[in-house]
Symmetry: C2
Subunit: 103 residues, 2 copies
DNA sequence: ACAATAAGTCAGAAAAATATGACTATTAAA
DNA sequence: TTTAATAGTCATATTTTTCTGACTTATTGT
């Protein structure tokens, strides 16, 4: 170990973290698409132009980690996985709308 | 020239660009502090923990470029420069508030 | 006159985000 | 039975963002 990286959570600004999280690659698109239908990995890869597995995978995981999306295994044949907005996720929709109305 | 980089503005999502702009280093802090008093470069450098000249300079310039901040040269002695929220900049405050209330 | 403060710019380095291609495991279709 | 689709992971590149330190120009304080 050379130098201990200071990671003592400098959250001066409360909006900072959330904003960073939401602005990552594909994130806004995920919210937009999730309003229309449950998200599926392979469809997203086609729907979101310029996306790729890794980024998408990370985006979904991060949004799930903070409880904005939830992962549901659909036990009907053909069984598959859906990612859906949680209640908390839905609560962010007005923020996106508002941002769109400005811009 | 090897390969022409595709930069054909893939703005699928309207909120995307603005979100990216607002989430950069120091950006949310700038808004928060601008509510209290006009911003001055050297004070910001001290106020915003973990900031640095370059990042701050870029942050201010970017926010000014899109008309969220404006740069004002104060012609009183000692003359100096202030960065203030524009009307458009102020219109974003509710978005920040809303983000803070969630999170 | 000399040092200090304000408000930066610039080039290059380091760190973080994103992309690529190879690979895996399970299920389903031909 | 071989092939294709889904839903990823992993290691490694490449790109973007952020940091560092040296330098600048104008003004002000001692």
């Amino acid at each position: 170990m050379t130098i201990k990286k200071e990671n003592i959570d400098n959250e001066t600004c409360p909006a900072q973290g959330l904003l960073k999280l939401l602005s990552g690659k594909c994130k806004p698109e995920l919210f937009r698409l999730a309003l229309e239908a449950p998200l599926r990995f392979s469809s997203l890869l086609r729907q979101i132009e310029g996306s790729n597995k890794q980024t998408l995978s990370v985006a979904l995981r991060e949004l799930e980690e903070v409880g904005l999306l939830e992962k549901v295994v659909i036990q009907q044949k053909p069984l598959h996985i859906e990612h859906r907005l949680t209640e908390k996720g839905n609560s962010l929709i007005p923020v996106f709308k508002q941002l769109e109305s400005l811009g």
